[in-house]
């Protein structure tokens, strides 16, 4: 399988990010039904169909090079987007090992890893990186191991430390988040970190999720999908830079909604780490504009119904309030009322 990278696309300023038809087709559309509500929708993160976003442990797609450049820009503006508390060094190496082994196994034409005892040789062809280092010795890498490998992997990452029957968000590389702040949330317990999410606590979702995650075993990762909406194909929708992207929410008109409004889906996966007993939480984001999604009318119909029945608390929390009516109006053109059987498939 070859990936046609689009190294020059941008996620700010000119916003030239677009999905290829193949990219749209593999978009992880998250709505099985016409209504949405929180649930503990976790399933084993096992190898999915070829070409799907579930095929590999860490999905690499056509946006890889451009996304990594956008991450570097964000980190240069704000190094605080990568935080790792001092006791997390073992978990950092666990993460580097897991990602390097996965990528070199799943994409041998793009990444190679050769080991000679503790001497490791890592080659990342798309980014032009060739690095020899000593596993376990941070001084042999240009930056700490967690930052090093997550500068080369699409998606945001949190490492959770497990102690006192709880999970603490003690490391993170967060440059493409749906409006939550690593600088603020670092060190929080699982419940505290998810504190601002409405309704889900009352449903017991986080309590059940935590119980389930505490028992997660090595080699048996799990995954779930989460979603929100974003104006413009912007990765950095952090609270820190809200003054920069907040005004975009007030810029949606009936004429630009197809281009500007994006469905943002997170493929979240959780991996137990072997030495530290920590847990790697990968948050792999996908963006598709309304125009792109509507190339499959089934998705446009489904999204129209999900948005029109979304509880107000969720619309508010996800920041959709200002542009939801315009988006619904636009989507309604596609919704002929056809009964849609359950399932997320595009056709």
């Amino acid at each position: 399988m070859t990936i046609a990278f689009k190294p020059d696309e941008t996620f700010r300023g000119t916003y030239t990010y677009r999905n290829s038809p193949k990219g749209i087709r593999r978009f992880p559309f998250p709505f099985h039904q016409d209504q949405y509500m929180y649930s503990v929708n976790m399933e084993p993160h096992t190898k999915g169909p070829e070409g799907s976003v579930f095929e590999n442990a860490f999905d690499i797609d056509e946006h890889y090079i451009a996304e990594m450049r956008d991450r570097a820009i964000t980190l240069e503006r704000d190094p605080g987007r990568c935080v790792s508390l001092p006791h997390m060094m073992d978990a950092e190496w666990d993460t580097l090992e897991l990602i390097m082994e996965s990528l070199s196994r799943d994409y041998p034409e793009l990444f190679t890893l050769t080991k000679d005892g503790d001497r490791w040789h890592w080659v990342n062809k798309p980014l032009g990186i060739d690095q020899t280092f000593t596993f376990g010795n941070a001084a042999t890498l240009p930056c700490p191991p967690f930052e090093y490998i997550t500068r080369q992997t699409q998606g945001d990452f949190v490492i959770m430390d497990q102690r006192d029957n709880n999970l603490f968000a003690d490391s993170g590389m967060i440059t493409s988040q749906a409006d939550w702040s690593l600088m603020f949330d670092a060190g929080m317990s699982f419940m505290e970190w998810h504190g601002p999410v409405p309704l889900a606590h009352e449903l017991g979702v986080f309590e059940r999720a935590l119980k389930y995650l505490l028992m997660l075993q090595q080699g048996r990762p799990v995954r779930r999908l989460n979603w929100t909406m974003t104006i413009n194909p912007r990765l950095d929708t952090s609270p820190e830079t809200y003054p920069e992207w907040g005004p975009d929410r007030a810029s949606v008109t009936p004429d630009n909604v197809g281009d500007k409004v994006h469905l943002r889906v997170e493929l979240q996966a959780l991996f137990r780490l072997p030495r530290s007993n920590g847990m790697l939480f990968s948050i792999r984001g996908y963006l598709a504009s309304m125009n792109e999604l509507a190339t499959y009318p089934r998705w446009a119909k489904r999204l129209h119904r999900v948005l029109s029945t979304l509880p107000n608390e969720l619309a508010e929390y996800k920041g959709l309030v200002r542009y939801k009516p315009t988006t619904l109006e636009w989507l309604s053109k596609f919704d002929d009322g056809e009964v849609l059987p359950a399932g997320t498939q595009p056709e």
């Binding site: 605080g80 006192d164 702040s181 600088m183 603020f184 949330d185 670092a186 060190g187 929080m188 419940m191 505290e192 970190w193 998810h194 504190g195 601002p196 606590h201 986080f206 609270p239 820190e240 809200y242 003054p243 907040g246 005004p247 929410r249 007030a250 200002r322």
Partner: protein, 197 residues
């Protein structure tokens, strides 16, 4: 007891001694005569150190009376001084030490941050909110903490933005989150109301 709006907001239980401890460090920065009477009249076993932040006047404080004979009482007059004294107390603390922090959130969570630097775990430390409900507010844009905030909207002491004060609380930073309330439509700032007396 306070009812938190969201899960990160601290819940303060009635302060009680943790009698599984063999050494006790109590930091208090606000008056509560009933609590002082209740705690000090029935002290825990083992050593007790009281670090007291009190105004520099002559008023008698319930926290300085009825102390057990064995208690070490340390009086301080500024938060900075109290934190220094507390640091010394943590520095010499032994296994089995329990820590009690009682006062305004700004003070007790700064003390809590200090305890964190000594590797104190969450179950060895108890917090109680006394006195003002004023909030320390962390500006998520410029990272300045504005202290003593009584209103739901406040001008950031660092960048001047009008911040909405959320209920989302970080123990590590010892502050509530504030974000620019008029980011989407600049200038659209509602009137601030006193909600944290």
């Amino acid at each position: 007891m306070s009812t938190p709006a969201i899960k990160s907001q601290p819940i303060y239980a009635e302060l009680e001694w943790d009698r599984t401890g063999t050494h006790h460090i109590l930091f208090v920065s606000a008056e509560d005569a009933a609590l002082a009477q209740r705690l000090l009249s029935n002290p825990p076993g083992g050593t007790l150190t009281v670090v007291h932040l009190r105004p520099a006047d002559d008023s008698r404080s319930a926290w300085s009376q009825n102390l057990p004979d064995t208690a070490l009482y340390l009086e301080t007059h500024t938060l900075a001084e109290a934190l220094e004294v507390l640091r010394d107390a943590f520095y010499v603390a032994q296994m089995g030490t329990r820590i009690y922090l009682a006062g305004a959130e700004d003070a007790i969570w700064q003390a809590s941050q200090l305890a964190d630097t000594f590797g104190v775990s969450r179950d060895e430390i108890r917090h109680a909110q006394l006195g003002t409900k004023a909030r320390p507010v962390f500006c998520v844009h410029c990272r300045t903490i504005t202290r003593g905030v009584h209103t739901n909207i406040v001008s950031c002491s660092g960048c001047g933005r009008s911040l909405f004060v959320r209920d989302h609380f970080s123990r590590r930073l010892g502050a509530y989150m504030g974000f620019q309330i008029d980011a989407e439509v600049p200038g659209e700032v509602p009137a601030a109301e006193v909600v944290y007396p």
